[in-house]
Symmetry: D2
Subunit: 137 residues, 4 copies
């Protein structure tokens, strides 16, 4: 599957009194990563919602290996680790951009729903995008 | 007007690498303050929205006098400093609960709208609540 | 182990455009839960840090079962599911306060360190508090 | 003075149940704006802090003119509207990138301090950077 690489500039608001990035901030970075992954494939999550579909977060997990500090150059890798007819799982790696050290890894599990929360299968357009993503390996 | 006093427990996530509460966190505390002000008068902002009204934030201002640190006991005072037919202005004071020092002061200016963003006057029920608030001086 | 029950008032800032609490907000609630758990046992995390110890977050996981909406009355249950000499694992349940439905469950795994990030064992005072917690089952 | 233009991609976490960007999120965007302003002039706020100086936020103000929605392309303009020997004031404009509509405007007032909170004058290096900024009008 296509792996998207994002550049993340740590925001001061994302740090905490321990002098490092707060652990909840990475969960928001993961969201940025999958948003950019979709964009790289030619669509946007905003369009996806406008067409009546939602990727509801069902599960999240993160493993904090090294603290990220304000000013650290960061790259975020995002890729789908599993795609099913009604679900998608993304995997994430937060790496120091210079040393390539793995700082944080994680995943999110999503269920595909419509506006009323009913579980749905992928719309045809997205199936095409997902196929395209496989081709980009 | 009725002055509501909230107790705020600083969340670690609200601090930053300078070791103090991040300046944007207080803006969220102000929101907590006016929510509790409404509740103290017998209504909730959730009910207010369900009846089709919104208090859109038009302006915000804050003056940071002393840094609040994690663990500091804080009380937040909230009161409307001006109520007009289509608008309300809240004033806030963040004080150290033990020393009573003024740490941060601020205000928010709100416009009353319906779901489509059209400016509205107060619903009858809220007018009653506001009158009651005046009586509570 | 002692199970602490917190009352959580959903903040508007914690919701997102899907009309529900954003999935990263629960991670911050978990932090509130374990902070209150410590307080219920007679200490504070601020004191803990002042004595030179840190509970670094090593891992987090959350399972989102039902969406929480603004205005929903919420109670949060927090308890340590495992305590080792250099680590502690907390478990969390976010429940609807009226219906008792389980909305979100999760855990955090923490490593005990000093200010320089070196792994440490529990200070004597905390060992006592933990023993006391076992007694509170 | 040099006006820096940032591109802002709205994060889903920054929206609220009203379907728009939460008013506190813009305060964090302002921080991103002034961080990038410094970078454009050849320094970073992280370096600034490492050399023992802090730009403490003393005041913030924002005027919300139009709601920004998820998916809106946004550009953020940042420039210092006043520089004194011990203080700096930044001004911000959040504009729709396509229509150029002014969505939000604001300012932050900062005081220059050292690590212990004592008020300081600009370090020589920064004076040079500020002069350079004037030249960039």
């Amino acid at each position: 599957m296509y792996r998207h690489e994002s550049t993340v500039a740590v925001r001061y608001a994302e740090t905490d009194a321990m002098g490092v990035v707060h652990h909840a901030s990475y969960i928001v970075w993961f969201e940025v990563g999958r948003t950019e992954w979709l964009e790289a494939l030619g669509t946007t999550y905003a369009d996806f919602e406008r067409s009546g579909f939602f990727l509801v977060v069902a599960e999240v997990g993160a493993h904090y290996r090294r603290p990220v500090r304000y000013g650290d150059p960061i790259r975020l890798l995002t890729w789908p680790s599993a795609i099913k007819s009604r679900a998608i799982r993304f995997h994430y790696e937060v790496r120091h951009a210079t040393t390539d050290e793995l700082m944080v890894s994680g995943f999110t599990q999503h269920i595909l729903t419509d506006h009323d929360g009913r579980i749905r299968t992928w719309p045809e357009e997205m199936s095409g995008i997902i196929e395209q993503s496989r081709g980009s390996v």
